[in-house]
């Protein structure tokens, strides 16, 4: 596969409703350790609200799918993750306006623009123990290497995101609720990094269903 169609993107966005319902408790437990025990609930509330919105959607271009998801997350989630993931999709929508499919290069443009939005809003730097720590290496890994397939790139990104999320465990949180803990945030995985890893993995698995 050399490009990804808007219907695959839609399948991904719909898949996220199940993914975050399944991982609700796991993410909430992570948040209970260094936050306020609601990240899983927030993600589930936000992403389960997306499919009904997509049903009603007429313009199913990638840009429109992303923008609708963004507005849904912003109005449904609250907390820190709502505006952040909302902004991610809002900014990701721009390069995808009117597009019915994206090349790997275009997909990278979208996500990079989304990540930039997250960083501008949240002011988190790499290593602050946030979702940015998972998204940054994931998107780096997504960029085409000597013309390999979109499937391969996505698999690489998913692995990178997963490893990066695990790598937040030894870090001291410098942003968000966990930062109040200072030293005591060490030893726990960042919930937002974990949810970002799930987000990327879900796309890889939408494109290449797990055996």
């Amino acid at each position: 596969m050399s490009s990804i169609s808007s219907s695959v993107i839609e399948a991904w966005l719909r898949r996220l409703a199940q993914v975050f319902t399944q991982h609700k408790d796991e993410l909430t437990d992570l948040d209970a350790k260094i936050g306020d025990a609601d990240h899983g609930v927030n993600m589930a509330r936000g992403f389960t609200a997306i499919p009904p919105k997509l049903d009603a959607l007429v313009d199913k271009s990638v840009g429109s799918l992303f923008r609708t998801s963004a507005m849904t997350l912003i109005s449904q989630v609250g907390g820190a993750s709502g505006p952040l993931y909302g902004t991610f999709f809002l900014q990701a929508a721009r390069p995808a306006n009117g597009k019915s499919e994206l090349t790997l290069k275009e997909l990278c443009q979208c996500f990079d623009s989304g990540l930039t939005g997250v960083v501008n809003l949240g002011k988190a730097a790499l290593g602050d123990k946030t979702m940015v720590d998972a998204l940054t290496p994931a998107l780096a890994a997504l960029h085409p290497k000597n013309g390999d397939s979109l499937e391969a790139a996505l698999a690489r990104a998913a692995t990178a995101a997963h490893e990066a999320a695990e790598a937040t465990i030894p870090l001291i949180a410098r942003k968000g609720r966990a930062s109040y803990l200072g030293e005591r945030s060490i030893g726990h995985k960042d919930p937002g990094a974990a949810s970002s890893a799930l987000l990327i993995l879900a796309l890889a698995e939408t494109v290449t269903p797990p055996a």
Partner: protein, 333 residues
């Protein structure tokens, strides 16, 4: 988990329906987006005060909506900051030409959601200012972190700015007053027990029978340290010390002493705490000329207390004494 609820999904909506039924003369409740507004809003020639945050801190903020305090409050899910569309709708519903002030507690989520809301509102031509409250000395302030949390000072700021707004002062003046209140107030809290978030169903943190969490946050965020439970007097020393050190309170300063209950601690214990806190303030040469004692900013059923000290001056004292008529705070009316 033992709670007087029906199911965790409906806690916030059903509590709102209860408030709506209990205080029809004082407030009106709007649903999705959820917000509570003054029954007589929009009030002419008055800056509109809007606050909000996660639910689970009752009576804050909804209980402070009414004459002399807030014009609207936006309740999020339990411990989750509200969404921009709530603040957007609430601000449009209560604000007039004099514009609106958003009083925001310093939590990443609250700040970002209020920020997005303020942009939406401004885009529609309504002047909006925001003040972020960050009075919790349990958290080290630093540009490298999310900074201090907003706790007890929020209640005081809402009362004082409410009186100033009722006074007819312009937006910039009310905003600056709010900043001054925040700058002159410091708080710290502690927990004897955890709280249980309804949709989680188990305590947010496990606290052994002989330990307490010093510097706990109002969402059950762990605090400065775990320690063995000590006597009430020693606990109050633990809370007052960083408060007094952080703010350059000077001898003979007049202060407001706010002893807050976190939800599960009964009044009889809060009076024991107040007694010692007032004693320590006096020892430090301060004059406690105003006070507030009770559960005003809570953390569900958490047992514990927080202490807030606000440096007063003639203006703040007059504003504190001004009439207020809300479900949770009432005087002079």
């Amino acid at each position: 988990m033992k709670k007087l609820i029906n199911n965790s999904e409906n806690v916030v909506t059903e509590a709102l329906k209860g408030m709506e039924a209990a205080y029809p003369d004082l407030i009106k409740v709007q649903y999705d987006p959820n917000f509570i507004m003054r029954a007589d809003a929009p009030v002419k020639d008055k800056v509109a005060l809007i606050s909000g945050g996660g639910s689970g801190h009752e009576p804050m903020h909804g209980g402070f909506v009414g004459k002399g305090m807030l014009d609207a409050a936006c309740p999020g899910a339990v411990f989750t900051s509200p969404t921009p569309d709530q603040m957007h709708a609430a601000t449009k519903a209560v604000a007039g030409e004099k514009g609106a002030l958003h009083i925001v507690k310093n939590y990443t989520g609250d700040v970002m959601n209020f920020e997005l809301a303020a942009e939406m509102v401004r885009a529609e031509g309504i002047p909006v200012e925001s003040v972020v409250i960050d009075d919790d000395v349990a958290v080290q302030d630093s540009t490298w972190t999310a900074g201090r949390r907003g706790v007890g000072a929020t209640v005081l700021a809402e009362k004082l700015c409410g009186a100033a707004a009722e006074d007819g002062r312009p937006l910039a003046a009310v905003r600056d007053l709010c900043k001054r209140v925040n700058a002159q107030a410091r708080s710290m809290g502690m927990a004897l027990t955890s709280c249980t978030v309804p949709h989680v169903g188990k305590p947010t943190f496990d606290l052994p029978d002989d330990e307490m969490e010093v510097g706990v946050g109002i969402h059950g965020e762990p605090g400065r340290k775990r320690a063995k439970v000590v006597s009430a007097d020693e606990i109050v020393e633990l809370l007052m010390e960083p408060i007094l050190n952080d703010l350059p309170f000077k001898s003979d300063d007049e202060v407001l002493l706010f002893v807050n209950g976190l939800g599960g601690t009964p009044l009889i214990e809060l009076f024991i705490v107040y007694r010692k806190a007032a004693e320590i303030a006096k020892r430090a040469g301060l004059k406690v000329t105003r006070n507030l004692v009770g559960p005003y900013i809570t953390s569900l059923e958490m047992a514990g207390t927080s202490i807030t000290l606000l440096k007063l001056d003639e203006e703040l004292t007059t504003l504190w004494d001004a009439p207020v008529l809300t479900p949770a705070l009432r005087k002079g009316i």
